[in-house]
Symmetry: C2
Subunit: 150 residues, 2 copies
Amino acid sequence: MDRIDEEIIHLLEKNSKLTQQEISEEVGISLSACQRRIKTLEQTGVISGYKAVIDPAYLGEGLVVFVLVSLERHSKDGVRAFEAAVSRLSMIKEIYHVAGEYDFIIKVAVADIKDYQNFNYDELANIPGMGKTSSLIALADRKAHPGRRR
Amino acid sequence: MDRIDEEIIHLLEKNSKLTQQEISEEVGISLSACQRRIKTLEQTGVISGYKAVIDPAYLGEGLVVFVLVSLERHSKDGVRAFEAAVSRLSMIKEIYHVAGEYDFIIKVAVADIKDYQNFNYDELANIPGMGKTSSLIALADRKAHPGRRR
DNA sequence: AATGAAAGGAATCCCCC
DNA sequence: GGGGGATTCCTTTCATT
């Protein structure tokens, strides 16, 4: 893993449709060397897959809401039950178990506020053991394309 | 935009290395019809790009921290200054301007706690206009691969 | 053993019906 | 929406140091 691998990773992270030839020229090695490096990165799991990036608005997921959740019971069972109940819900995109004032932070993607209210009242409020929650409505995403400098 | 487009998007979102022929067979249309649909999805921006998925541990980004930030001044200038200062920092992966008790929620990726402390004291604390902050250390990511059922 | 070069096969693009 | 041909790209093999 040297500087050239890093460059290859950064290029593919930005645009995986680059051809191996373009990459090899960009980083200054031969085509076959580049091909072997990419294969190794894939096999060792550094590159774990390739995905298309879909416009959230099209998916009906234009609104992002972060929900901070504290549980009533902090036992292992309580945590498990919460995770099980929540992982069924497709609008929940990310769940993190956190340390601090709250127990979990979840990132929810829905179409609009109305959708979020339905989610909140019909789904979230019915989860057993749920204590205090706090919702942070995202007004704007200020960094759609995260930087990748090190 | 019909059910077939949805299926194509769904497949490419999981794995963009699928062949056009494989996709056409999966969704039950001809190869050329499938090609035209994909091209249209790309040109209309529904598919906005293709990316390689990189193992965060390899990038030295194994620890995720959410920071809730409230600003001292809520004027447009204060917000702008904060955004400008923060968008220089490569460890900040997502920034959302939110409504509620806090003004911003930022998602930070670093190697470990030590790294995060450096970030907190050297970078975050020096940003002008910064008021109260609250850090939520992610103990575990409970949904690394978000569901995509509708 | 690692790199560079070349041929065969596959996928993509473009014009046709 | 479906079919066919040319081009480009990817993979494998072989030669080189």
